[in-house]
C-alpha cells in the first residue's frame, strides 16, 4: 500500500498538490472584485428639501437601507431617475424571502423591510415573548396596494376539479405559502367558505412560486397565487378564478416595516419621509405614464417575459399607498390575525394597535392625509 519511494518525495508531492489547490483557490478569489452591493444612489446635497416629507435637517451623514425582496424594484427606481438627488445616501439590498427580510431588520442590517401588509400584526402575534406594551421592535408604517388592479392575487381552481365557488373547496387540495398576503387570502377563503381546517387538504409550500408550480403540474385542485404565474392555464380556460383580494375583503398590499428606533431617529425619519415621498411619485405618476420603460426594465434587466412584464405593469400602474390611519385598516388586519389564529397559523391573536406595531407617521407623506 505504501510506496517504497523515499518519504520526503511523498511529502513534496503532497505539498505540491496542496499548493496547487491553494493557488487555484486564490486565483479564483482574485478572479473578480464585483459583487454584492445593492443598487443605490447618493447625493452631494446636504439638506433634505425634496420629496413630500421635506426637512431642514442635515441628512448628508444618513444612509438609508431599504430592503426589498426582488431585483425589479431597485432597477425600476434607477430607471425612473426620481431618486438621483436624494440629500442622503440610500441602498436597496435585495433580500429574498420574508424570513430573511425580518432577520435583516431585527439584526439592524436594514432600516426598512418589505413584506406583506399583515407582517407587523403576524410578528406581534407570533413572537416568542410578548412585545412590550410601550414599544414594539418593528412597526408597519406604509402599505402599497393596487385597488383597481385587473389581476390581483386570487384563489384559482382547475377546471377539471369542478369547483366553481369557495364552498366547492371542501375536501380539495389547496396550495398556499405561509406568512404573507397569500396566507391571509387562504385563511379568509376558508373562513368565508365556512370550513374547519380538517374540511380541506391544505398543502403548504415554501414559496408562492412552488405552490403555483404544483398547481401547474396538476398536483393541486386549487391554489392561492398571483395571476402572472398561472397565466397560461387561466388564459387557456383550464383554470378559473373563484375569489380574489377584493371579493375576500383583503387589501393584499405590500407592507413596509421599519425598526421602531429608525422611526424615532429624526434624521432617519426625515430620510424615510423623503424617500417615500419620491416613492409615491414613482407609483402614482411615473409608472402609469412609463409603460415602455417599465416593461423594458423587467424584460431586459430582470428577465421577465414580455407578456408577464405587461401583466405586471397593468397591475403596477394602479399602485398607490393605503392610509394606515384608516379605521378599516386595523379591522382588516385583526380579522386576518383572528382567522389565522383560528386555523392554527399563529400562536396568539394579540390586537394590533396604532403607535405600537403600526405607525401613521408617514400617512401624510404617502397619502396626503393624516389621522
Amino acid at each position: 500500500m505504501i510506496s517504497n519511494r523515499k518519504p520526503w518525495r511523498l511529502i513534496r508531492r503532497a505539498s505540491a498538490a496542496a499548493t496547487t489547490v491553494a493557488l487555484a483557490a486564490v486565483v479564483a478569489a482574485c478572479g473578480s472584485s464585483g459583487g454584492s452591493t445593492a443598487s443605490g444612489a447618493s447625493s452631494t446635497g446636504a439638506r433634505a428639501t425634496g420629496g413630500s416629507g421635506g426637512s431642514s435637517l442635515d441628512l448628508s451623514g444618513v444612509t438609508l437601507k431599504v430592503g426589498y425582496q426582488t431585483a425589479d424594484f431597485p432597477a425600476l427606481l434607477k430607471a425612473s431617475g426620481l431618486f438621483e438627488d436624494t440629500p442622503y445616501k440610500f441602498q436597496i439590498p435585495v433580500i429574498a424571502g420574508p424570513a430573511n427580510q425580518l432577520a435583516a431588520l431585527y439584526g439592524k442590517q436594514i432600516d426598512v423591510g418589505q413584506t406583506g401588509e399583515n407582517t407587523a400584526a403576524f410578528e406581534a402575534a407570533n413572537s416568542a415573548t410578548p412585545w412590550p406594551a410601550d414599544g414594539a421592535p418593528i412597526q408597519g408604517f406604509a402599505v402599497t396596494w393596487t385597488p383597481q388592479a385587473p389581476y390581483p392575487a386570487a384563489v384559482y381552481v382547475t377546471k377539471k376539479s369542478g369547483i366553481t365557488s369557495l364552498a366547492g373547496l371542501r375536501g380539495k387540495k389547496i396550495g398556499f405559502n405561509y406568512g404573507g398576503n397569500i396566507y391571509a387570502e387562504y385563511v379568509i377563503a376558508l373562513q368565508k367558505g365556512g370550513f374547519a381546517l380538517k374540511d380541506v387538504q391544505g398543502v403548504q409550500f415554501p414559496s408562492n412560486q412552488a405552490a403555483a408550480n404544483a398547481f401547474l403540474a396538476g398536483s393541486l385542485d386549487a391554489v392561492v397565487t398571483s395571476y402572472s404565474i398561472v397565466k397560461k392555464l387561466v388564459d387557456s380556460g383550464d383554470a378559473i378564478k373563484i375569489a380574489d383580494n377584493n371579493t375576500l375583503g383583503i387589501i393584499g398590499g405590500s407592507g413596509w416595516i421599519a425598526r421602531t428606533d429608525a422611526l424615532k431617529d429624526p434624521a432617519k425619519l426625515a430620510a424615510i419621509k423623503d424617500f417615500y415621498g419620491r416613492l409615491r411619485t414613482f407609483y402614482e405618476k411615473w409608472i402609469p405614464t412609463h409603460e415602455a420603460d417599465y416593461e423594458k426594465v423587467l424584460v431586459s434587466q430582470v428577465g421577465q417575459r414580455p407578456d408577464v412584464a405587461k401583466v405586471n405593469w397593468e397591475n403596477a400602474r394602479h399602485s398607490t399607498f393605503y392610509r394606515i390611519g384608516d379605521p378599516k385598516f386595523l379591522q382588516i388586519q385583526q380579522a386576518t390575525v383572528d382567522a389565522a389564529f383560528g386555523y392554527g397559523g399563529l400562536k396568539t391573536n394579540v390586537r394590533s394597535r396604532l403607535g405600537w406595531n403600526y405607525s401613521t407617521v408617514l400617512d401624510g407623506v404617502t397619502t396626503g392625509t393624516t389621522g
Binding site: 486565483v27 479564483a28 472584485s33 424570513a99
Partner: protein, 295 residues
C-alpha cells in the same frame, strides 16, 4: 526431512504461460502494437462514453419534448436553454455571474477547507483534538444550511461576510470529516512498523499517516469544492446583484424555468471541471495509487 514437490508437466506450462505472454507483449514487433492500439481504443472509448452519455441524455430530453411526453412549461427544451444563455450573455449577467461566484466559492473553500483540514488532522492525530472538536462538528454538520441563512444575516450582516461565512461552513465539514476518518483509519500495523524502525511521533505523522490519509483528504477536498459551489444558491439569496445563485433565484422569482435550468447547467459544467482538476491533483499527489477496476 525434505519434501520434494514435483510439478506436473501441465502445471509447469501454466506457470510459464503468463511469463511468455508478457515477453511477447513487450516485444517491438508483434503484439506490442496491438496492446498500444487496445490502450488507445480504451482511452478514446472512455472519453466517448464520458461525453456520449450526457449527449444522449440531452437528445432524449429534446425527443421527449418533440414526442409531447412533456411540455415546454414543465421542462424547457435544450434549444430554449441555449436561447436563455444568449439572453444572459447579451445583458452581461453571465459574464458578471461566473467570476463573482467563483471568487465567493474560492474564498469560502480556502477558509473552510483550510479549517477543516487542520481540525481534521488535529482531531485525527490527538485524542484531545477529537474530544474538543468531533462531537461539536458532528452535531453542526447535520444543521440544514437553509435554516442558517436568516441567522447568518443577523450575525454577519448582509454584505460579503455573511455569504463567505455560509460558504466557509459548507466547505469545512466535508473536508473535516474525510480528513478525520482518513487519519484515524491509518493501519496500526504501519505505525507499529514505523516505531520499530525508530521513527518519532512527528516522523510517523509525516511519513506514514499523512501519505496514507491523503486519498481520503483529497476525496474530502473534492466534496468541499462541490459544496462551496452548491452553497452559492443560499448565500446569494441575500443582497447579491450578481452570481450563479442570484441568477437562479431571480429566474425563479420571474417565472423563467429556462434560466433556472441554464444556471443548473453551469453548475454541471463547473462540476465536471472540478472533477477534471481534482483528477490531475490526485495524479500529482498520489502517483503510487493503483487504478482499481475490473474492466
Amino acid at each position: 526431512m525434505t519434501t520434494i514437490t514435483a510439478i506436473a508437466p501441465d502445471e509447469k506450462a501454466a506457470a510459464k504461460a503468463p511469463l511468455n505472454r508478457a515477453l511477447i507483449d513487450l516485444s517491438p514487433n508483434g503484439r506490442g502494437r496491438v496492446v498500444a492500439m487496445r490502450q488507445r481504443i480504451r482511452f478514446w472509448g472512455g472519453w466517448t462514453l464520458r461525453v456520449g452519455v450526457p449527449m444522449l441524455l440531452i437528445v432524449f430530453w429534446q425527443l421527449a419534448l418533440n414526442w409531447h411526453w412533456t411540455s415546454e412549461d414543465t421542462l424547457p427544451s435544450p434549444k430554449t436553454i441555449v436561447e436563455a444563455y444568449k439572453y444572459l450573455w447579451g445583458n452581461g449577467s453571465l459574464q458578471d455571474a461566473i467570476p463573482v461566484s467563483l471568487r465567493r466559492a474560492g474564498e469560502g473553500l480556502l477558509l473552510g477547507g483550510s479549517a477543516g483540514l487542520v481540525i481534521g488532522i488535529f482531531a485525527g492525530l490527538w485524542k484531545l483534538g477529537e474530544e474538543i472538536f468531533d462531537a461539536t462538528l458532528q452535531m453542526l454538520r447535520t444543521v440544514p444550511f437553509i435554516a442558517l441563512v436568516p441567522l447568518f444575516v443577523t450575525w454577519f450582516g448582509i454584505e460579503e461576510p455573511s455569504k463567505l461565512a455560509l460558504i466557509t461552513a459548507a466547505a469545512l465539514f466535508p473536508l473535516y470529516l474525510n480528513t478525520f476518518h482518513a487519519v484515524k483509519g491509518v493501519d496500526q500495523k504501519l505505525i507499529e512498523a514505523g516505531k520499530t524502525f525508530g521513527l518519532t511521533g512527528f516522523q510517523i505523522a509525516r511519513r506514514i499517516i499523512f501519505p496514507t490519509a491523503l486519498p481520503g483528504i483529497l476525496t474530502g477536498l473534492r466534496f468541499a469544492c462541490s459544496f462551496s459551489l452548491l452553497s452559492l444558491v443560499l448565500a446569494e439569496q441575500v443582497n447579491a446583484t450578481a452570481g450563479i445563485g442570484y441568477l437562479i433565484i431571480n429566474a425563479q422569482n420571474n417565472q423563467r424555468p429556462d434560466i433556472v435550468i441554464a444556471g443548473i447547467w453551469i453548475y454541471a459544467v463547473l462540476g465536471i471541471l472540478i472533477d477534471f482538476f481534482m483528477r490531475g491533483v490526485e495524479r500529482l499527489a498520489l502517483p503510487w495509487r493503483a487504478r482499481v477496476g475490473i474492466g
